[in-house]
Symmetry: C2
Subunit: 648 residues, 2 copies
Amino acid sequence: MNTTKDTALQFTPAAGFWKERTDAVIYKAIPYQWKALNNEIPGAPGSHAVQNFKIAAGEVKGERKGTIFQDSDIAKWIEAAAYSLRFKPDAELEGIIDELVRLIEKSQMSDGYVNTYFIASSKTSERWSDLVMGHELYCAGHMIEAAVAYFNVTGKRTLLTVMCRYADYIGTVFGQGENQNPGFDGHPEIELALHRLAEATGNKKYAELANYFVDIRGSVPNFHIGKAAMEGMIPKTRWFGSDYYLADKPVREMTNAQGHAVRAMYLYCAMADQYMMTKDEPLLAALKKIWGNVVQKHLYITGGLGSHPYGERFSIDYDLPNDTCYTETCASIGLAMWAWRMLSIEKKGIYADIMEKAVFNGILSGMSLDGTKYFYVNPLKLLPEVTKFRHDHAHVAPERVSWFDCACCPTNAARFILQFTEYLCSADTDGLWIHHFAQGRAAAVVDENTIQLEMKTNYPWDGDVDIRLVMDKSEEFSVYLRIPHWCSKYTLEVNKNPILDSAHKNNGYICIRREWHSNDIITLKLEMEVRFIQTNSNVSENAGKIALQRGPLIYCAEETDNGKGLHLYSIKTGKKACLVQDSSLPSGTIAIEAEASFEKDTADPKDLYFEYVSDREMGSKTLRFIPYYQWGNRKPGNEMSVWFNISH
Amino acid sequence: MNTTKDTALQFTPAAGFWKERTDAVIYKAIPYQWKALNNEIPGAPGSHAVQNFKIAAGEVKGERKGTIFQDSDIAKWIEAAAYSLRFKPDAELEGIIDELVRLIEKSQMSDGYVNTYFIASSKTSERWSDLVMGHELYCAGHMIEAAVAYFNVTGKRTLLTVMCRYADYIGTVFGQGENQNPGFDGHPEIELALHRLAEATGNKKYAELANYFVDIRGSVPNFHIGKAAMEGMIPKTRWFGSDYYLADKPVREMTNAQGHAVRAMYLYCAMADQYMMTKDEPLLAALKKIWGNVVQKHLYITGGLGSHPYGERFSIDYDLPNDTCYTETCASIGLAMWAWRMLSIEKKGIYADIMEKAVFNGILSGMSLDGTKYFYVNPLKLLPEVTKFRHDHAHVAPERVSWFDCACCPTNAARFILQFTEYLCSADTDGLWIHHFAQGRAAAVVDENTIQLEMKTNYPWDGDVDIRLVMDKSEEFSVYLRIPHWCSKYTLEVNKNPILDSAHKNNGYICIRREWHSNDIITLKLEMEVRFIQTNSNVSENAGKIALQRGPLIYCAEETDNGKGLHLYSIKTGKKACLVQDSSLPSGTIAIEAEASFEKDTADPKDLYFEYVSDREMGSKTLRFIPYYQWGNRKPGNEMSVWFNISH
């Protein structure tokens, strides 16, 4: 085995779970989102994002509309559409992208600048005047990612060239030299994008620019007293200090989750990219400290991040409200992207475990099963009447919606779900790594020896995984299989011979090193029990409560199956939960039934308070649980809860 | 017995609980608050309230400062100070009040108008331009209450005359005639004040003006589109519609708690005052419906009201968050004032029960034991770190403070605690009513027969109550004793002879009718067990939780006694709770100890989520509970909780 180090393998889902999720994106979400970006969804908030580029390109007249970062929706959609072409060649779709690229190129100013807000609003003199909230570098980053993706899939260079020109220009604008802008972005994104641009073009200077933005961060005084702050757009409160923008200290001094959750995740991705390039150990030490703080003290069981809605930000350690949380889809996407980079730095199962948690729960929940309705906020408890009335729930949508005024999540989910197919397997100098399980195939070309990896599994509905290796010639290398953290029992065979004794487990991966022959079959059986999960006792919100997990999936109960008043039920943890099929759920879905008890009323139902009767009669009820990522797909606006009291 | 109907008897506390509370107001709070109103408390927000009247009176130059309703703090302080003179004659204090009255009179405009905001700010042309938020009628109401109180206690008429002149003028300004203002106040208060003015002066026209304001309410279209709304001071959201100001419908059509909790309570008081005057049955029917909704679906166990901090308002039915609630001290005061009026309308124990709940818990909690520190918001759960960080807790003070920018509560608590001495006993044509229990005496003069009522009790620390009746001549009448809703067992004797069989219990009161002789002694023994209280199952916030109550007192646990992490403990409801003394609490205080269990950690403390182990080891801990009204009086800013999980 002699591939370049840490190569992500392109995986093609063949059937089952990931085929369904990627097909929903390819066949439904991408066409739907294109309509949304063109204001063609009746009743949905207008995006204006395509129109904005037409205006900026001078092809139509009109007022540029939408958020200051509306261009990024176009960029993420191009990225998603580009990935979809890998799985489903589509000349019409490619034509649409080419036309968009033409508009983007035409809108580009002579110095390289691309941004409809400042160009089409004739505010070009205000460029770079508000780094905190202006989002210019953020939009540039997403468009760079789009350019790289479209180039990687199609080989077409136009957008890549446009964005290289823009990146070159940005490199002249920012820096410590005379007449240069000494600042950096309020919303990280360009840094990780520049690393991708460096990789796609082979031009290291883009990565160096990324590293500059990371290294200068936190060292520019009064950075956050930008235009938006001065104009009152940013409230002058302790929630929006420079820590909010991850600009209060140099990145190597950071130790914990802070500020806006998505901004934080994208910065950590860039720091990891930079470490892979430079091997700067203080950078990795900071990343590990932050990682520990995030996953030990800020992570929802669904992989959600950002418990404080005001500012879409992190709260203090262990503060994890289930109903008022922000848990933005984009934050979970950012976490998965960061986890992937950490996994590339060191092959430890914890990174893939957290990635899997985020992907199978908090990310997939952001898009409806049919790809055309979205959650921005992913709560773990919903009482529809409370959510609709209360001001402190105003950020929570009680049902999936068609589009958002600030629509960062839908296109981000689309691009990520397709991109995840690159995160399943990788190869390095030592062998093949199976990080995640899905039906499909991938290939690694090594020294003219093409190794096909064919995975057969019904994962995550069961834990049986068959992997067939097909290759031109036999070769000795290692195959690393992740044993997920949630799994305590498993068996492993090669060509039906148990090999656990000879296999070596380390850091969450089992390593099988041998001479592999074509058609060798690895059979991994992960036992997938229903598990009752509780939370660290520092989390007051979940005291005395459990959640149900099976495999990587977190489950929730909905009013649709169980009626109103989910808070009334306590799970009987002594009883075994059952797996059931449910015709109202997508075919193949495993639902769970668990026994619960509830207190029969002892008092006048008109009494608000009454004496507790310790030996009162208890009722029994079978509660049905569905995978969290599927919630809100049936009857809209009904009660939902992940956490339940325990009945002893 | 032949007193006028429903006469409140002035009760003078002699020792024990109410002597301590009223002394704290008389000797500590009133002098302290006078300093606060004069900006003489170092570190506290400046009130400017006295200075404002000096400016308005033309005696000093300067800028009028503070909220638009700052005058009402002066008014409530005068009212409290007036009551204090009943218990402690004080020439110096009376001199201070007289000097204030002189300033108020001097500030009065020639047409009768009194209000420093509009006079001292030279905005007199803007008078009555913003009925929604201008608070002019609200300030007028409080100053009328002050005038009535000072007149009642001292017989001095100056302020009463000033306020009659103002009320006369208001009567010309508002009405349906040509050139009259057809509107009404955004914050009710003047109505109940005008009823008090009518009683004090014997002039019915003031009560008729009050009734006019009540009856016109909800019938003026677009009332709420006032100046403040137009200028953006009132957010244009669904939380600040006309329902918020109780202005969306005529009062007789109201059926449930709505809008700003204090505004609502003061309106209901006025409606009750009006009913007592007019016997308008639809008005009483509405009051009863609203009462039922408030106490069955909106009332915290502490007597707190207003669970929605945004707008200090009511939320939907059964929505009772414990940590983010508003539960303003003033709202509980308003509830007690309303309950008193309902009790005057019909002698049902439920009204006195709810009054007692509010007084002994949610009202007393608003003032520190020494009278000089205050809570505006009275939460039922406090995690100091969370409260300090989270935006949705920004309204919650984690510790008692010296003063507020908006300081409605401290003076309101001071005047109410003294006023409560009028709510303990009353007399009507049938006899004497004992609504509440306290050590002290009251007198009713009937047909030249003075009946002295001397109560000896250690209430609320125990439930033994001796009542001695001293009178010039023997007379047949009824004595009604409230048996509190919390009490299921009691004994009753007259002159040591059990008389329960011959006594008649109805609507929460026991009636003893007989010929009474001087020095007859009624002995009531209310059994006062520690009770575990649970909440109606519609309240999701309290599912599976209990609170501790003994007598009228709700208890809470504090970090000071129990350490951090109160959420970890589940109360063993099968074990009997014990009564204990605690030297860190005021002498006589009964604290409670209850056994609790807690889960011993089974997992790596670094794990945020881990598998639930059903038979894991449980720890035991004795938790100490203190009366809720005493919380936050020792170590500042520590954890507190009223509700606890149940251990079966």
